[in-house]
């Protein structure tokens, strides 16, 4: 057992609670009993490890990874990039970041999506990337459109990209959504509103990053992801007799 691998406890104030009636589906899908808190064992401190060779060459280019012969998706081309850091502000290298999204019209390539906006024949809407040695990741895509969904009678999701992030241990596993700076739908959204703290909501909003854009070609947005911190200090080891 390796005490420096233990994760700091999750701050519930950083997250939406399970039961959030504004988002109706959560009402019947939220546990009523408290979670049992576990001190980390190997089962929580470890997690799957992925290798570059498991990914395809186009996996982080949604403009090309589902394009038919000679075709390209319609929409605003953007680069999305950032870093994965832990709570100690250290980069988290070599972890898998996956993402999925609707097309420019707000339609998902999913058998259950019945929104009448059309499928883009050249857009799949998913990708993945491993963070580099500094915890950096990037991908190219089309900016997704908003779409309506059945919650309140006239609820629309802001433009967003879903993210799934693996850390160094399974306890860091996180699924979240990234929003876009300046989107007027954000303050009306029932799902981002499940997060009580406005400062926490703000952390899900990517910033326009002209510095990372490609002139005459592609705009860029930047968004950093922070996973749970872990014990790291030397005195922790000594205190525990290592």
């Amino acid at each position: 057992m390796n005490p420096e691998s233990e994760f700091l406890q999750r701050d519930p104030a950083a997250h939406p609670p399970a039961f959030t009636p504004i988002y109706k589906t959560s009402v019947l899908r939220s546990p009523r009993l408290p979670l049992w808190s576990l001190q980390n064992s190997l089962s929580e401190m470890t997690g799957p490890v992925f290798a570059q060779g498991e990914l395809g060459a186009l996996d982080n280019d949604l403009v090309r990874n589902h394009a038919q012969d000679g075709g390209a998706p319609i929409g605003e081309r953007i680069i999305v990039h950032g870093r994965v850091l832990d709570g100690g502000a250290r980069p988290v290298p070599g972890v898998l970041v996956e993402f999925w999204q609707a097309n420019a019209a707000g339609r998902y390539r999913h058998r259950n999506d019945r929104f009448e906006a059309p499928i883009d024949p050249n857009f799949g809407g998913c990708g993945r990337v491993l963070t580099d040695a500094e915890g950096r990741w990037h991908f190219r895509t089309i900016k997704p459109g908003p779409y309506p969904y059945r919650n309140r009678v006239n609820d629309w999701r802001p433009a967003h990209i879903h993210f799934s992030v693996f850390g160094a241990g399974f306890a860091q596993r996180l699924v979240t959504q990234m929003y876009f700076e300046g989107d007027p739908l954000i303050p009306h959204d029932s799902i981002i509103a499940t997060i009580p703290d406005p400062a926490a909501r703000e952390r899900l909003v990517a910033r326009l990053d002209l510095g990372a854009s490609v002139p005459l070609h592609t705009l860029a947005y930047r968004w950093d992801i922070v996973l749970r911190g872990r014990r790291s200090t030397l005195f922790e080891n000594k205190l525990q007799g290592n």
Partner: protein, 211 residues
């Protein structure tokens, strides 16, 4: 990214995986092929050592209705009880090059069933000063309506002695709730199946962990 007064960064808030989680993580179930290598759809190869088992179950909401749009991930040790991860330094337990220990599956759109073909894990060392943990599989569930992924464990009905000494199961009060984590064994023509239904809310609510 603003650090707090001590310099720590707050964790990125969780959001629901939504109804279309399949697109990103298991696109084949969403109805299209995009990746050459679909991560997590297979845990074992022909050369993986260990007892081959199937684990399966359903997820039920607070009314008992099937949750048919969830994603379940599992993380488990190999047959010797060792995780394929550098932080696992248990001595004398071999790593299996043919077993990563991680898988993901969607609940079926019609039947609501999730299932994995895997091997039965061996017991893993407990925390310092504690008993070894009984064989178990770690589960993590995300879905529409779940704001923060739910962590739980699957234990095996035919490991009664090890379960009785398990340091995690023994934390849970009242003891009847421990039963919500214990999968029942069934023998089918093609092998052993362990079945664990997960109840998100209400009567016999599954124990979920803050890990």
């Amino acid at each position: 990214m603003t650090p707090d007064r001590l310099g720590y960064l707050p964790e990125t808030p969780s959001q629901t995986a939504g109804p279309y989680v399949h697109i990103g993580l298991i696109p084949r179930q969403a109805g299209f092929e995009i990746f050459e290598n679909n991560l997590g759809d297979r845990l074992i190869g022909p050369e993986t050592p260990g007892e081959r088992i199937r684990i399966e179950g359903r997820i039920l909401d607070g009314t008992g209705a099937l949750v048919r749009d969830a994603l379940v991930e599992i993380w488990q040790a190999n047959a010797a009880g060792r995780y394929a991860h550098p932080a696992d330094r248990q001595e004398g337990k071999p790593l299996d090059p043919a077993f990563r220990g991680w898988g993901r599956a969607g609940t079926d759109f019609e039947t609501g069933l999730w299932a994995f073909e895997t091997i039965k894990p061996g017991p893993v060392a407990g925390r310092r000063g504690h008993q070894p943990m009984a064989p178990h599989v770690n589960l993590w569930i995300v879905a529409r309506g779940i704001n923060l992924g739910l962590a739980t464990r699957l234990y095996f009905e035919d490991e009664a002695a090890a379960n009785a000494a398990d340091p995690v199961l023994n934390l849970i009060e009242p003891p009847e709730r421990r039963q919500t984590l214990i999968a029942r064994r069934e023998q089918r023509d093609d092998g052993a199946v362990y079945i664990l239904d997960i109840r998100l809310q209400g009567e016999r609510e599954t124990v979920f962990f803050d890990i």
